[in-house]
């Protein structure tokens, strides 16, 4: 515990800027992963426990694509598309079979996928820690905002997440696709009776959620080191995010992700050993006081 350090940071503009930018990039990554998780839950009614593995896969695909193509933007797109494709395969061949089954079997299928993916990554990319390094395009001197240091790549990450959030909001609330998806989430039987192919809606939502996780992995690749099993901690954190924001609510995921991101970055100064505890405390409080989450409309799932 070091409240004095936290106080000193909060009185210095440069420290506030630096910590806020760190918090925002953590929040951006969490938002992308949590948005996919919450969307899949909202529409399909299952929690994809293997979502963290998709994030991991995205990071590794981006790493390889970057080494081959030498273009970061292109490799991020490849990672998103590749993981999206992988998600469709996973959904069609495995997950689909347990939608109607007991939770026990859903859990086991995801458990198996996590185990297999972690080992597959070990076989393909090796078990040791890897890092992509900062892509050439972003190797510019950092920005100084009120004397706070903000790397250019951070700005890019935050902008990318913001754009994705806006697009998602627009698609989900203002387009026909969004209407169809919301209808399938609300009443799948009625939706299919009306002649819409729910099978494809499910596969599409799963692919989109997976692509978001893959993209998050690609965005994390330059700033985080990679290792098999890296997906699990972000899975737990994005779950906390969705509980705080409200399961099934994308805007809730955004609020929750930013909250957790900022708690993480400022908490690491003020109470480094208790950051994890704070997140869980926040989650427990939400579950006791408002079980549907900050922005969740529906009663507790």
């Amino acid at each position: 515990m070091d409240p004095i350090a936290l106080y000193e940071c909060l009185t210095s503009m440069s420290c506030i800027v630096t910590q806020t930018s760190t918090g925002l990039i953590v929040g951006s990554l969490l938002f992308l992963v949590a948005a996919g998780l919450t969307l899949i839950f909202g529409v399909l009614g299952v929690i994809n426990f293997a979502h963290g593995s998709l994030y991991m896969l995205g990071a590794y695909i981006a790493l390889s694509a970057y080494r081959i193509t030498d273009s970061y933007i292109l490799s991020a797109v490849i990672a998103g598309a590749g993981v999206g494709l992988f998600s469709v395969i996973f959904e069609r061949f495995f997950m689909r079979r347990v939608y109607q089954a007991e939770v026990l079997l859903q859990l086991l299928v995801c458990y198996a996928l996590i185990l297999i993916m972690d080992d597959a990554v070990k076989i393909i990319w090796g078990a040791e820690f890897q890092s992509m390094g900062m892509p050439a395009a972003f190797q510019a001197p950092p920005l100084f905002i009120f004397d706070g240091i903000v790397p250019v790549f951070y700005v890019f990450m935050i902008c990318a997440a913001a754009v994705i959030a806006l697009v998602m909001w627009y698609v989900l609330t203002r387009t026909r696709i969004g209407k169809v998806v919301r209808a399938a989430a609300h009443n799948p039987t009625m939706t299919s009776v009306l002649g819409l192919n729910t099978t494809w809606i499910y596969a599409g939502v799963f692919a989109f959620g997976g692509a978001l996780a893959g993209l998050a992995g690609a965005l994390a690749a330059p700033v985080r080191s990679m290792s098999p099993g890296m997906g699990f901690s972000i899975l737990i954190e994005s779950f906390i995010v969705t509980v705080i924001g409200g399961m099934g609510s994308v805007s809730g995921a955004l609020v929750g992700a930013l909250l957790i991101g900022l708690v993480r970055s400022f908490g690491s100064i003020g109470f480094p050993l208790f950051v994890e505890g704070t997140m869980f405390l926040a989650m427990a409080l939400i579950l006791i006081l408002k079980p549907s989450g900050l922005l969740g409309k529906e009663p507790r799932p």
């Binding site: 299952v46 495995f94 198996a112 185990l115 297999i116 076989i123 799932p301």
Partner: protein
């Protein structure tokens, strides 16, 4: 004690007699070690089945009690000079308290939400174990071995045969107690809450309380499994409370079958054997285990005891007409 339970008591005694004869039939350490492991994992898996099979609550974080029990037991043995039964009791008390706190938050939640929340709390416990290096030794685990002090006059578990006996007796007694509780009115109330919570509520049953009691019971018995494991391997490791341990437990009970009391034990034995074979043949443990899990979860969809029960029903179809 009702008459029905006499049968179970006899089965328990028969199992003890069989296990007593085992060292004579197969004197090698391998068999005995296997049985000790089975006792620890079997109690752990059966305790999870109190929640999954009898309570309809699929916990994905049950390893927090296995690890919690192992660490509490290990620390009590290392840092204080209490005897083994007292340390075991300490582990049970600690995990019951932990289960009370976690359960109060979790048991209200529905199915998949409950699974994820228990998983999240387990990862909290795991990260506490990793970070609190001064107490737990961090990712190295509890170093220095767990002393096997003699207790109650002459019971000396430092002797391998006595250790075998101790673990087997604790294991069988734990199973009998769990069986007794599950066959009691409480056990049947729990089954009713699983099948139809609304109906139970109408009958005046406090559903939340019944679920919470089941959660605490499961946590307490899981800590016995963890303590036996800690005593056997003479240490406690963060992996005991890692999510893979919970996953293995879920797989054990699914593979054995959740509808029969002894199903999880069979599952624990099978997984034990699988793990041995996999470790001996390949370094890609996760890949091999993952494929086996997929075969069971997507191919068979039921546990082994379910198949046996089905076979039995088919053979005696004329008499057992539903």
């Amino acid at each position: 004690m009702n008459n029905g339970f006499k049968k179970e008591l006899l089965i328990g005694l028969a199992a003890l007699a069989l296990l007593a004869a085992l060292p004579l039939l197969s004197p090698g350490r391998v068999t005995l070690d296997f049985v000790i492991r089975l006792a620890a994992l079997g109690v752990f898996a059966t305790s999870l089945n109190i929640l999954v099979g009898y309570g309809g609550m699929v916990s994905f974080g049950h390893a927090m009690f296995f690890g919690g029990g192992a660490y509490t037991f290990g620390l009590l043995m290392q840092r204080t000079d209490v005897s083994i039964p007292v340390a075991l009791l300490g582990a049970i008390v600690f995990c019951s308290m932990l289960a009370l706190v976690v359960g109060m938050i979790c048991v209200k939640l529905k199915e998949i939400y409950f699974s994820f929340l228990t998983l999240a709390f387990q990862m909290l416990i795991h990260s506490v174990i990793i970070t609190w290096t001064a107490l737990t030794g961090g990712d190295q685990g509890l170093m220095g071995g767990i002393p096997r002090r003699p207790f109650w006059g002459g019971i000396n578990v430092a002797d391998p045969n006595t250790l075998y006996w101790f673990c087997v007796i604790i294991g069988v007694v734990s199973l009998l107690v769990m069986r007794y509780i599950l066959q009691s009115p409480f056990g049947y109330t729990l089954r009713m809450v699983r099948d139809n919570a609304d109906r139970a509520r109408f009958l005046g049953i406090d559903v939340w309380r019944i679920r919470l009691y089941a959660f605490i019971l499961a946590g307490a018995f899981a800590s016995i499994g963890g303590s036996l494991m800690a005593l056997f391997v003479s240490g406690a490791y963060p992996e005991f409370s890692y999510w893979t341990m919970s996953g293995e437990a879920v797989f054990m009970i699914m593979m054995g079958g959740i509808n029969v009391f002894l199903g999880p034990i069979i599952g624990a034995g099978l997984l034990n054997i699988f793990n041995d074979i996999i470790t001996r043949n390949t370094e890609y443990h996760g890949l091999a285990l993952g494929v086996i899990v997929l075969v069971f979860a997507l191919g068979f969809k039921r546990g082994i005891t379910d198949f046996v029960g089905q076979l039995f029903n088919t053979l005696t179809k004329k008499r057992v007409q539903p």
